[in-house]
């Protein structure tokens, strides 16, 4: 039997001990552990790596701590716009969805695009319709709301900046400008 292994991530950025409380650290560690165990259960029973990565990502999308699914950040219009993709190393087939805001688990929609459509990437209303027609759970966009991300968005608006999902610890001066510098001739 080949060596089975699963690796996950929950986002990168200015994540420092200073800003982390023991409770938060424990919650993030638990969230990642749940994801690893969800995928490992599949691999251990000779399931596919595709099913393992899907299962792991679904648990992270359902965990409001992480910027995906529930707990996603807010756009400049105060919406949650999500994206996801998946790829099979054996067949090199791939599926992705972008700019969706009512599919409970975007990674499941990406998998559907790979398995049940001739396409690789579907966006917006078309992607949502495809997901709905194939039985995926569609939720009201309020499902994705978390106060933590909403407050982060309010802070971004105040500083007229854009933030990477884990750069909240950085000084707002370090956040991204909403407009590229105007280059004057």
């Amino acid at each position: 039997m080949n060596k089975i292994i699963l690796v996950v991530h929950g986002g990168a950025g200015t994540i420092t001990k200073q800003s982390m409380t023991p409770e938060k650290e424990k919650a993030y560690t638990e969230g990642l552990t749940v994801a690893l165990e969800a995928g490992y259960k599949i691999l251990k029973n000779r399931g596919s790596s595709l099913d393992a990565v899907s299962a792991a990502v679904v648990t992270l999308e359902d965990n409001p701590l992480f910027n995906a699914g529930k707990g996603s950040v807010f756009t400049s219009e105060g919406k949650n716009e999500m994206d996801a993709s998946i790829m099979d190393g054996k067949t090199r087939k791939a599926g992705a969805v972008a700019s969706v805001n009512t599919i409970k688990n975007p990674i499941k929609a990406a998998r559907l695009v790979m398995d049940k459509s001739p396409h690789v990437l579907m966006t917006g209303k078309g992607a949502i319709r495809f997901a709905q027609e194939n039985g995926l759970e569609i939720v009201d966009s309020s499902y994705f709301h978390t106060d933590f991300r909403y407050d982060q968005w309010q802070k971004s608006i105040k500083h007229d900046k854009i933030q990477l999902d884990h750069s909240g610890d950085k000084d707002p001066k370090g956040w991204l400008k909403t407009e590229t510098e105007k280059k004057f001739g």
């Binding site: 691999l43 807010f74 992705a96 990477l164 884990h166």
Partner: protein, 134 residues
Amino acid sequence: TVGAVALDANGNLAAATSTGGMTNKKWGRIGDSPIIGAGTYANNNTCAVSCTGHGEYFIRDVVAYDISALMEYKKLSLKDAAEEVVMKKLVTDGGEGGIIAVDKDGNYTMTFNSEGMYRGVITADGKVWVGIYK
């Protein structure tokens, strides 16, 4: 952003990435996560990769595919290919973030140039390791 890469008992690799994007991003802005080759890539001959970070740079540098290509054409190891792309090319271009990847032999790497990355691995014996800071 969240992601996972895996190698199964049949030797098949897979990668998956999902994200809410950037806070206060412009309407319709897309990052690297749904873009195959940028935020997600898998090829049984080389590796499976999932990325997280400043998406615009990961798109321009075609990060996930670039790591696979360095392995395929320059025969770099997974670790060396990831270092080359994440710790040199991305840093030179100003792109902050990281990747997780596993190769066809079960070697893995969690390479990032930011101050931290939420990450974890579970090996064949069921042992779990989770990390947050550098």
